[in-house]
């Protein structure tokens, strides 16, 4: 998954959560990058017809952007499910974030052949849990406290 896909995924999740355009600051915060970096990438997404930025309101994904964002979210879900169900990784969130930029969608599709992913994916993704809602895992606070 490339960097642009990670931005699309973040914007998609924030838009879903807020039910309104995603503020650039929130996108930067979610991705742990500077607002200037977020602005620059949002401009690139706009140029590619994947997002629309409205001054003082924030960024919204176009239909094409939503399709790509959902693909990226699905790839992320596959990585998380694979780490939990196949490799039994405890810090699956942290490792999924590290692996996400290096694992391409085609590779995720092959991993998908051996995990039991639900048909509702990626709508099953729970931003609060930072994981697929169908996974039997601890909430974030408890996982952090362990």
């Amino acid at each position: 998954m490339n960097t642009a896909d990670q931005y699309l995924k973040a914007i998609y999740l924030i838009q879903q959560d807020d039910n309104s355009p995603a503020a650039t600051g929130r996108v930067a915060e979610m991705l742990d990058v500077s607002p200037a970096s977020a602005n620059e990438m949002i401009g690139k997404l706009e140029a590619r017809g994947l997002a629309e930025h409205e001054k003082y309101k924030g960024v919204s994904l176009t239909d094409d952007g939503i399709v790509k964002a959902r693909d990226a979210l699905q790839t992320y879900c596959i990585i998380e499910r694979f780490l939990v169900n196949v490799l039994d990784v405890e810090d699956f969130r942290g490792e999924a974030r590290e692996l996400e930029p290096v694992i391409d969608g085609t590779v995720a599709e092959r991993l998908d052949t051996i995990i039991d992913r639900k048909s509702e994916c990626p709508d099953c993704f729970d931003p609060e849990l930072d994981a697929c809602g169908c996974l039997d895992v601890e909430p974030l606070e408890e996982a952090a406290a362990d």
Binding site: M30, E95, T106, R110
Partner: protein, 161 residues
């Protein structure tokens, strides 16, 4: 969230190598399953699938050797085999074309994986427990083998059109 397309630690490297092993396991198991369940005898396809399975097993061993150098845990091969077996019936190709296409997907995916991993290692200046030159040499060898395998499958597909 990491936005860097690079490998920065032994842990991340070991995990990627484990994923490589799983991809090779999937290729090996599916090639063996395809060979045993061809709708009718086909010497060319049987040979292709036998070679693919053998090559994937060899690649898996080389990746396992790298993981040993990193002092990371290997993965339970038996469990992966069981998962592939369990899912095979639902994703089994219907005919010769389907078998070839699935084989092509396996080889292309492995090629893409090694290519991305080489890029991610080259983009990083992290010091790994395993010798960087050796690591890259092994991964490039595996990537080249996958590229050759893609060409072999593609040639057979074109001849059968």
């Amino acid at each position: 969230m990491s936005l860097s397309q690079r490998v920065d630690s032994d842990q991340q490297l070991a995990r990627l190598l484990q994923i490589g092993i799983v991809l090779e396991e999937v290729t090996e198991a599916r090639a063996n399953n395809h060979r045993e369940s061809l709708p009718e005898p086909d010497a060319e396809l049987e040979s292709l699938l036998a070679d693919a399975a053998e090559e994937s097993a060899a690649h898996r061993d080389r990746l396992d050797g790298l993981i040993d150098s990193l002092a990371a845990d290997s993965i339970p091969f038996d469990e992966i085999d069981a998962l592939v077996e369990a899912s095979y019936g639902q994703t089994k190709p219907e005919d010769f074309d389907g078998v070839l296409y699935d084989q092509l997907c396996n080889e292309e995916t492995a090629y893409k994986f090694y290519d991305d991993m080489i890029d991610a290692i080259e983009a990083s200046d992290a010091a790994f427990s395993v010798d960087r030159a050796h690591l890259l040499s092994v991964l490039r060898t595996l990537r080249d083998a996958e590229r050759d395998a893609v060409e072999t499958v593609t040639t057979i597909m074109e001849q059968r059109e």
